[in-house]
C-alpha cells in the first residue's frame, strides 16, 4: 500500500507542479468570467454610445412620435436626402420614411457604416409601435381599452417530491443537464487520455521495467489512475472556488458600475419601446421563474452527483485508456483501440442533447443512465430533472461494478502490454494477453 501512495504522490505532484496545470486552472475561470464580463461590457458600451438618426418623413405620420432613448436621438433632417447623405459621420444615420409607409411598411436606414442590430431593432420597434397605434385607431379600436385587456396566464410547474411540491423549471434543468453532460464528456476524455499518455510515456522511455521490478503492474496502473484522478478533482475544486469568487467579485464590480441599469425608470423606457408591453412583462416573470428555480436548485446535491459520476466514469474509462496505452508504442497508434471506447460516450453525449433532455424519464434515458459505460453522462443529464433514489442508487452500484470489471480486464492487458516493445498489437493479441496466466 505504501508503494501505491508513492506512485499516486508522484503522478499527482508531477502534474500539479506543471505550469500548464496552473495556467489551465486559472485561465478557465478567467475565460468564463471574461466571456461573461465581455458580453455585459459590450451591451453597456453599445447602449452608451449615442447614435444620431436624421429622419426624413415623407408620410408625416411617424416623426413626431419617435422617442429619444439613452442611446438614440432622433432629429429632423433639414436638407434633401442627397445632401444629408453626404454629411453622415460616425454614429449618424439617415432614416427615410416613404409616403406610403402604412402600406409598404418599409423604411430605409442609410449610414456610412453597418448599423448595429441594436439600432435597427430599436427603430423597427418604435416604428412598429407607432404604425400599430395608427392602424388600430384607423380601424376604430380604442387603445386604452385594448391595453387594459391583458390576460396574463402563468403556468407554474410543480414537481411532486418528498418535501412537497417544489417549483421546477424544465428549461433550467435542461440547461444544467446539458452543461453536466458536456463537462463529464470533456473531463473523461481529458483525464482519461492523460492516463493513456502517461502509460505510453513510461513504456516509451522504458522506465516501466525498472518500476515494475519494485511494484506490481496493477499497483502502478492504479497509482497512476488515482493520481491523475486527484489532479482532476483538484482542478474541479479550484475551478468551483475560483469561478465562485471571481463571479461574486465581478458581479459586485459590475453592479456598482451601472447602478441604474435595472432602475424602474430604465425598465419603463425599455417596456415603452417594446411594442407589446405584455411581452416584456412575460419576460420579466420568466426571469423571476429562472431566479426562483436557481434558488430552488440543490447545488450541493448536484455537485455531489457530478463528482460521484465523474469519479465512477473516470475510473471506468481511465482503466481502459491505460490498457490502450499499454498496447501501443506511440499515441498515433491508439486510433484503432480508441473507437470502441469513444463510441458509448459519444453516443450518450449526442443523445443527451437530442433525446435525454426532452424525455428525461423515458426508456432510452433510463437505460443510458443504468449501463455503466453510458451512465456517467446519461445519469447526469437526468439528475437536474429529478431521479428516483432507487434508480440513482442502482446506477451508482452498477457503475462501481463496471469500473471494477474494466479495471480487472484492463490490468490483465496492461501487465503484458507494458513489456511488449515494438510490437503492433491487434485485438486478437489483446485477447491473448488477457488470457496469460501471469
Amino acid at each position: 500500500m505504501k508503494k501505491i501512495f508513492l506512485i499516486i504522490k508522484r503522478e499527482y505532484l508531477s502534474r500539479v507542479k506543471k505550469k500548464s496545470f496552473l495556467i489551465v486552472t486559472f485561465l478557465v475561470p478567467l475565460l468564463f468570467l471574461g466571456m461573461w464580463g465581455g458580453v455585459i461590457a459590450l451591451s453597456i458600451q453599445d447602449s452608451a454610445s449615442l447614435s444620431t438618426i436624421y429622419v426624413i418623413d415623407d408620410s408625416g405620420l411617424i416623426i413626431n412620435d419617435l422617442n429619444n432613448t439613452e442611446s438614440l436621438s432622433f432629429e429632423k433632417a433639414t436638407g434633401s436626402p442627397t445632401e444629408e447623405k453626404s454629411q453622415l459621420g460616425e454614429n449618424q444615420f439617415l432614416l427615410i420614411i416613404p409616403e406610403d409607409v402604412l402600406e409598404s411598411q418599409k423604411l430605409a436606414l442609410l449610414s456610412s457604416q453597418k448599423p448595429s442590430i441594436f439600432v435597427q431593432s430599436e427603430i423597427s420597434n418604435q416604428v412598429n409601435n407607432i404604425l400599430r397605434k395608427t392602424l388600430l385607431s384607423n380601424a376604430g379600436i380604442d387603445l386604452k381599452t385594448l391595453d387594459s385587456i391583458q390576460p396574463n396566464v402563468k403556468v407554474t410547474s410543480l414537481e411532486i417530491t418528498e418535501e412537497g411540491e417544489q417549483e421546477s423549471n424544465a428549461g433550467v434543468a435542461m440547461g444544467i443537464g446539458m452543461f453536466a453532460s458536456i463537462m463529464i464528456y470533456l473531463t473523461l476524455f481529458i483525464y482519461g487520455s492523460q492516463v493513456m499518455r502517461g502509460v505510453i510515456e513510461e513504456k516509451n522511455n522504458r522506465v516501466v521495467e525498472i518500476i515494475i521490478s519494485s511494484v506490481k503492474p496493477f499497483q502502478l496502473m492504479l497509482g497512476k489512475i488515482v493520481g491523475i484522478g486527484l489532479v482532476g478533482l483538484t482542478q474541479f475544486l479550484l475551478w468551483i472556488a475560483l469561478s465562485g469568487s471571481l463571479l461574486t467579485i465581478g458581479g459586485l464590480i459590475i453592479s456598482s458600475q451601472m447602478p441604474d441599469a435595472f432602475s424602474a425608470e430604465e425598465m419603463s423606457t425599455i417596456s415603452s419601446s417594446v411594442p407589446n408591453s405584455a411581452a416584456f412583462a412575460q419576460q420579466n416573470t420568466l426571469l423571476d421563474d429562472v431566479q426562483g428555480t436557481l434558488a430552488g436548485i440543490d447545488f450541493p446535491y448536484l455537485i455531489t452527483c457530478f463528482l460521484i459520476f465523474f469519479i465512477g466514469g473516470y475510473l471506468l474509462y481511465s482503466a481502459l485508456f491505460a490498457a490502450v496505452g499499454s498496447a501501443v508504442d506511440s499515441e498515433t497508434e491508439t486510433q484503432q483501440f480508441m473507437l470502441p471506447i469513444t463510441m458509448p460516450l459519444l453516443f450518450t453525449y449526442i443523445m443527451s442533447f437530442g433525446v435525454l433532455v426532452r424525455d428525461p424519464q423515458g426508456p432510452l434515458a433510463f437505460w443510458l443512465s443504468m449501463i455503466p459505460f453510458t451512465s456517467p453522462i446519461g445519469m447526469m443529464v437526468r439528475v437536474p430533472f429529478g431521479v428516483p433514489l432507487w434508480q440513482l442508487g442502482l446506477s451508482i452500484v452498477l457503475l462501481i461494478g463496471g469500473f471494477i470489471f474494466t479495471t480487472w480486464v484492463a490490468s490483465r492487458i496492461y501487465r503484458v502490454g507494458i513489456l511488449m516493445y515494438g510490437k503492433k498489437a491487434s485485438y486478437k493479441e489483446l485477447i491473448k494477453w488477457f488470457k496469460y496466466r501471469k
Binding site: S14, R206, V207, I210, S213, S214, P217, K432, K438
Partner: protein
C-alpha cells in the same frame, strides 16, 4: 543464494523456458548467457517477480521467492529509461523509496553515491539534459541504491564509453567484494571472462551449459598448442610413435608458426622434449577456447 528449479514459461504457442535449472552461489558473479530470444529476459523477469513461471520454483536464500525479496534485488533492465521531465534527485528518491527505503535513508545513500560517481551537481538536472552515458550512470546507481543482496544487470555496458565501462566494472567488482551476488546477462564475452566465476548458457529455451568458467574452459580444451620456432624445418613426430598432429603451419619472416594437437595422451613435456632437439623454439602456448568460442560452438551445435 538463488536456486532456479525446473522453470517452465510458456507464452501462447511460444515456449520461452523449457525446464531450466541451475543455482547461483552467494557472492559470485554469475553470467547468464544466450543468443537473442533464448529466454534470458523471461528468466530475469521471473526472478524479479515481474512474471510468474508456469512450472518450477525459484528459491532465494532457501525460501521461495516472495514480495519481501523485492527490496533485496536490484535490477538494471536491458530496456531501461527514466522519466524525462523529472529531476534526477527526485527520480532517485522515488525509485529508492519504491524499493522500500525510507526517505531519510534514501537521501543519504543518494548523496553518498552521487559523490562517489562525480554526480554531485546532477540533483536538480532533468534526464533530458543528460547524455546517454550519464543517464546510464544514474540508472546504475538507481539499481544498487538500496544495497540489494542480488544485483541483476542486463547488458549493463551498452551505451557507455570505455572510460565509464571501467568505472562501472570497478563498481561491480567492488559491490561483489562487499558481498553482493551479481547476475550478469550479456553478449559481450570478453567481459564475461573478465568478471564471471560461473555461467549458464541458455539456447532456444533450454539450458545447454552450466558451471564454473575455469571448469568449462577445461572441458573444452582440445590439447592444442601454438608454437613458434625460428627454423624452417618441418615438425616431425618420433619414428616409433605419434605425439602430435600438425594442424597448420604458417611461414613467418624469421621462422614458422604452427598449431599442433597432442594425441595418444602424451603431455606437454613429452612433446617439448622431442621438439627441443628438432627446432629452435621461441614460443609455446596452449590454445584455450574462449567463452566466446564455446558460446558460438554451442549455439551452432544446438
Amino acid at each position: 543464494m538463488l536456486e532456479v528449479q525446473d522453470i517452465v514459461k510458456q507464452y501462447a504457442k511460444h515456449l520461452a523456458l523449457d525446464h531450466v535449472s541451475f543455482s547461483i552461489k552467494k557472492g559470485s558473479i554469475f553470467g547468464l548467457l544466450g543468443p537473442n530470444g533464448a529466454g534470458k529476459t523471461s528468466l530475469i523477469r521471473i526472478i524479479n517477480q515481474i512474471t510468474a513461471p508456469d512450472n518450477g520454483e525459484i528459491l532465494f536464500n532457501g525460501e521461495p521467492l516472495s514480495e519481501k525479496h523485492i527490496s533485496q534485488i536490484g535490477y538494471l533492465p536491458e530496456e531501461r529509461g527514466l522519466y524525462k521531465k523529472m529531476l534526477i534527485g527526485e527520480q532517485m528518491l522515488y525509485l529508492a523509496q519504491l524499493k522500500g527505503l525510507s526517505r531519510a535513508d534514501a537521501v543519504e545513500r543518494i548523496k553518498h553515491w552521487f559523490e562517489k560517481m562525480d554526480m554531485e551537481t546532477w540533483w536538480n538536472k532533468r534526464v533530458e539534459d543528460l547524455s546517454k552515458g550519464m543517464q546510464q550512470k544514474v540508472q546504475f546507481v538507481a539499481t544498487v541504491i538500496h544495497q540489494p543482496e542480488l544485483i541483476i544487470l542486463d547488458e549493463p555496458f551498452t551505451g557507455f564509453d570505455p572510460v565509464n565501462v571501467d568505472v562501472i566494472k570497478n563498481e561491480i567488482i567492488d559491490l561483489n567484494k562487499k558481498g553482493a551476488t551479481i547476475i550478469f546477462s550479456t553478449h559481450r564475452m570478453e567481459s564475461v571472462e573478465e568478471l564471471c566465476d560461473s555461467i549458464v548458457l541458455i539456447n532456444k529455451s533450454k539450458k545447454v551449459l552450466d558451471g564454473k568458467v575455469s571448469e568449462i574452459k577445461n572441458t573444452y580444451r582440445k590439447h592444442q598448442y601454438l608454437i613458434k620456432y625460428s627454423d624452417r624445418l618441418p615438425l616431425l613426430n618420433p619414428e616409433e610413435n605419434e605425439l602430435f598432429k600438425v594442424l597448420n603451419i604458417q611461414e613467418l619472416e624469421d621462422g614458422n608458426k604452427a598449431t599442433i594437437e597432442l594425441v595418444n595422451n602424451y603431455n606437454i613435456n613429452d612433446v617439448l622434449g622431442h621438439l627441443i632437439n628438432q627446432v629452435q623454439l621461441q614460443e609455446f602456448t596452449e590454445i584455450i577456447p574462449s567463452i566466446h568460442d564455446i558460446f558460438v560452438k554451442q549455439v551452432k551445435e544446438n
